[in-house]
């Protein structure tokens, strides 16, 4: 059985260590916050200018001027700080953010990441993705293993425009957990029931299992 989106998010939450400052990207990465184990305390950074971000508000707590980078209403926790965009990206580029969990379109075995554009199809802009991919101390990517037509998205070399080079440490997909190891991926965990053959067949680069 391949992992569901929720299972990928749950597995990603286990990558967070107590005390980490983490930035969670838009979409599935945002949901990782829901599965952080109770004994792990993580400080969430939101690049629009908030450190110490809390969960979504209760209906009567909504404040339009407290949002995350996905423009969703959120809350602030005790100990939080608010700041301008330059300081926020100083935190990111300066290596002060321990981990960034980002969505991906393609990851190459050497750690190159593409997640901001599909020429002719998807035009959204890079937002904070290029800074986060380059600046966070550890970069995790959550994405599907293959595209809808079955084309591998873990590849030997990017086919899409890069977000940043040699930046991804680990990729989590519906098939398992994979580390970027230069000229190959290392499969460190497989979803229950997923065979090595299925992983190898679905991956566009050599995979070493352990």
């Amino acid at each position: 059985m391949t992992w569901s989106r929720e299972e990928i998010a749950r597995r990603a939450a286990r990558e967070l260590a107590d005390g980490d400052v983490a930035n969670l990207g838009i979409g599935l990465p945002t949901e990782v916050a829901n599965y952080v184990p109770p004994d792990v305390s993580v400080v969430l950074h939101s690049e629009n200018g908030l450190l110490g971000m809390g969960p979504f508000p209760f209906e009567d707590q909504i404040d339009p001027q407290i949002i995350n980078a996905g423009k969703q209403t959120v809350t602030v926790l005790p100990g939080a700080s608010a700041f301008d965009s330059a300081l926020s990206f100083a935190m990111i580029r300066g290596g002060h953010v321990d981990v960034a969990i980002l969505g991906g379109l393609e990851v190459a075995a050497n750690g190159d990441l593409a997640n901001w554009t599909v020429p002719g199809k998807l035009v959204t802009g890079m937002g904070g993705a290029m800074d986060l991919a380059k600046g966070a101390r550890r970069v995790l990517v959550l994405q599907t293993h293959v595209s809808k037509d079955g084309t591998p998205k873990l590849v030997g070399r990017l086919t899409l425009p890069a977000t940043a080079l040699a930046c991804v440490h680990r990729v989590l997909t519906e098939l398992g957990v994979f580390d970027c190891a230069g000229d190959h991926f290392v499969c460190v965990e497989r979803a229950t029931g997923v065979s090595e053959e299925e992983v190898a067949r679905s991956t566009g680069a050599r995979v070493v299992f352990r």
């Binding site: 200018g49 423009k71 904070g128």
Partner: protein, 233 residues
């Protein structure tokens, strides 16, 4: 004391004309100088260059100026969630210069700080680096990004005093204090205008030296893009 207080948004925007560049604070629809944006729409200025992280969203905020075909060029970092901008961009009707968000912020800060630019690792090896000088410093590859200025900056603050000292609120701060530093004319739209001395010096986020005009606008729509909540247990 220099008289910076203006009685209305129209007085505050005096001199703003078609063809000018405008920095607009805000992240999506949060922290926008709403009265200024509405006034620019009403005045019907066109051929504008807008520097803003998103240039509005969901047809609201600065997107109203897009709908009115008032904008020639947008300098921003993200256009997802902004169908008006995506449509005009794909149709080749508007010029869009995409910057990584941190690069956009720092270019503005650099301009306001009198710097000729800065070297950043962000964008190295990507399309962002095309045509830019790259340099290796202590074993790390960087690219040169230049400062970014504008004719006008429209800034939203929570509190401003009559000399333009500003305090912001939560994530409505974002690009606002940076843009205030980098324009020939900086206009602050404050939720609340107070007398000089009412803001504690240690609570000033943006010193009034960067502000040329200020007006009070107690009413704001404070639009929400994604109203997300959780249930009470």
């Amino acid at each position: 004391m220099k008289q910076k207080v203006r009685a209305s948004v129209d007085e505050a925007l005096e001199g703003l004309a078609s063809g000018m560049s405008i920095m607009s604070g805000g992240f999506g629809l949060c922290g926008n100088a709403e009265q200024c944006i509405k006034a620019i729409a009403r005045k019907g200025l066109n051929d504008l260059t807008i520097i803003s992280n998103n240039c509005g969203n969901q047809g609201r905020g600065l997107a109203v100026l897009l709908k009115g075909r008032q904008i020639r060029k947008v300098v921003c970092s993200f256009i997802g969630g902004n169908p008006d901008l995506q449509e005009q961009y794909l149709a080749g009707e508007i010029e869009v210069e995409l910057n990584p968000q941190g690069t956009l912020a720092e270019r503005i800060r650099a301009a306001g700080s009198g710097l000729g630019g800065f070297y950043t690792p962000t964008g190295v090896g990507t399309v962002v680096a095309e045509g830019k000088e790259t340099r290796e410093i202590d074993g790390v590859r960087y690219l040169l990004e230049k400062p970014l200025r504008a004719d006008f900056a429209i800034v939203r603050a929570a509190v401003a005093d009559r000399w333009g000292n500003c305090r912001f609120y939560r994530t409505a701060r974002n690009f606002n204090p940076l843009m205030a530093m980098a324009a020939d004319v900086t206009v602050v739209e404050a939720d609340r205008l107070v007398e000089v001395g009412e803001l504690d010096p240690d609570d000033v986020h943006l010193p009034g030296i960067f502000v040329h005009r200020v007006f009070e606008a107690p009413e704001h729509d404070n639009l929400i893009e994604h109203r997300t909540t959780r249930a009470r247990p």
